[in-house]
């Protein structure tokens, strides 16, 4: 069971309170109806699924109920950082080299 820092609760909480919500920073087009088939496939189906650093979304489902973003190493499952929904992809990661 992972230990996840919720950026809204400003505290590490047990994974049981959270729900993973998939890859982060996949923008929904402002003009959805006009998206091409290719772009829709990319948006809805294609995932980066990295072995290494992943940018992902979590929801503090049984806590503050907020969605937020996290950066995690998918090999060690260690979290590098978490940040609020809507904040940009961090330019620099703390202790990224591993």
């Amino acid at each position: 069971m992972l230990l996840i820092r919720c950026p809204y609760c400003e505290e590490e909480r047990p994974e049981l309170e959270f729900r993973n919500a998939g890859e982060a920073h996949i923008a929904r087009s402002a003009d959805m109806a006009a998206t091409s088939d290719d772009d829709f496939e990319k948006f809805f189906f294609i995932r980066s699924n990295p072995k290494g650093i992943i940018y992902e979304r979590w929801r503090h489902m049984h806590g503050c109920a907020r969605f937020f973003n996290a950066v995690r190493d998918t090999v060690s499952d260690r979290f590098l950082m978490t940040y609020k929904a809507g904040e940009p992809k961090p330019a620099k990661l703390p202790g990224a080299s591993e």
Binding site: N20, D37, R47, P50
Partner: protein
């Protein structure tokens, strides 16, 4: 390849088992092969075996980053069945099931395919509707799958709790009698031995780190931890790592990789005669020939390549096992482990050509591809040899996610394994 038989064993017994030959050789990689298979799991090895036996292509290397059979092939709960809903799935899984029957003889290697029957439980009205839909579709597809009353289910599997007072009582079950289990390691080893004997090179401890392409985009070979190895055809069969390798070739996949856990109990005398799956309470159980209860759990919720998962996932599974089989609370968990499964959005595999000439992919088997091993290898070998899919795997394209022509077993039932 020296044939295995009871006489061979008797002969070897006389001389302290020193005359056995290597089951597969461990050659140094050549500079170039006709075909490279990335991943020496069951699917990769079977592909190589059928390339050699069916298509006469033997200048083949199977590259494995660890030890052959050490991926999901070596860590699955070995449930074999073919009672899938859609025609496309039924086609490929039943093709495999027909090959399972007779595989030991074909390989001269006892893979212990044991058609002990796979029972899937219905716990509510919705389950009944879904499972009966399977029964009917299977019947018209020529696949055996029968409907059992709770009492008949109990007769088939005496430890089953069919009390109406159970939290989720058993309201019926389907039974595929041809379903069952097989010895996972033997499958990998048997195919490895067969392929190796026909000249296929199985190269372990050789991780693919890059895919090389010519200016026209076509594949020319792969970079590995043991140097560059050339080939005009490369088949990627790397289960949880498929998207990692496809990325090396510039192809982004509709895949996510999750840890999936399983556990075994301490061994006991035979108590569990068949395979039982319950999707509603999330439990998958059978008993191995050695006597352990083999229990499949669920995936963790997040993408990971760590081959371990959370304790709460096992808890959830054992809750369900003890609810359905209340006499098992005093049994003990002997070992738990995890594998990395590659999951597609519609829970059906991708077995296809790719946008890159010479590059083929066989992946997305997720939590349930062991059962498909022989069939998958067989049609994938065809796809590579002919540069054209076999009719059985023709629907399992990558393009289906763009057009929407999914094979949505997930939507239909969301059954794992």
């Amino acid at each position: 390849m020296k044939k295995y038989s009871v006489f061979a064993i008797a002969r070897e017994a006389m001389r302290g088992h020193k005359g056995w030959e290597e089951q597969w050789s461990s050659p140094e990689p050549k500079k170039e092969y006709d075909v490279i298979i990335v991943g020496a799991g069951g699917h990769g090895l079977a592909t190589a075996y059928y390339l050699a036996t069916v298509h006469g292509i033997t200048n083949v290397a199977v590259l494995e980053k660890g030890w052959l059979g050490g991926g999901n092939t070596g860590r699955n709960t070995t449930i074999i069945r073919s009672n899938y809903l859609y025609d496309e799935s039924a086609g490929i899984y039943d093709h495999a099931l027909k090959l399972w029957d007779g595989l030991s003889q074909e390989l001269n290697y006892n893979v212990m395919y044991s058609p002990r029957g796979v029972m899937m439980l219905a716990h509510n009205v919705h389950d009944i509707q879904v499972l009966k839909r399977h029964v009917h579709a299977n019947r018209l597809n020529g696949i055996d799958n029968e409907w059992l009353t709770p009492e008949a289910a109990k007769e088939f599997c005496p430890p089953l709790n069919i009390s109406r007072a159970a939290r989720y009582p058993v309201m019926g079950a389907t039974l595929q009698r041809r379903g069952g289990t097989a010895r996972h390691d033997a499958v990998a080893w048997g195919y490895a031995r067969g392929a190796s004997a026909r000249g296929v090179h199985i190269i372990q401890n050789c991780e693919v780190t890059g895919v090389k392409r010519a200016p026209n985009g076509a594949v020319t070979g792969v970079e590995t931890t043991r140097g560059f190895i050339g080939a005009r055809k490369v088949g990627v069969v790397a289960a949880g790592h498929s998207s990692v390798i496809m990325n090396m070739a510039g192809v982004r996949m509709p895949l996510e990789s999750y840890p999936l856990q399983a556990l075994v109990s301490e061994p006991v005398k035979p108590v569990f005669p068949c395979v039982v799956m319950s999707n509603t309470v999330h439990a998958y159980i059978s008993q191995s020939d050695k006597g352990e209860l083999v229990i499949g759990a669920g995936t963790d919720q997040y993408v990971s390549y760590s081959q371990t998962g959370g304790l709460h996932i096992l808890q959830h599974t054992l809750d369900a096992i003890c609810e359905m089989f209340p006499m098992f609370t005093r049994m003990k968990m002997l070992r738990s482990w995890g594998g990395i499964v590659d999951v597609t959005p519609d829970r059906s595999p991708i077995l296809a050509k790719t946008p890159v000439p010479g590059l083929y992919v066989n992946c997305g088997w997720g939590t349930g591809g062991f059962k498909a091993t022989p069939g998958s290898g067989h049609v994938f070998a065809h796809t590579i040899a002919r540069d054209d899919p076999h009719p059985i795997n023709a629907p399992f394209t990558i393009e289906r996610f763009r057009t929407g022509r999914l094979i949505d077993e997930a939507a239909a039932a969301a059954v794992a394994h």
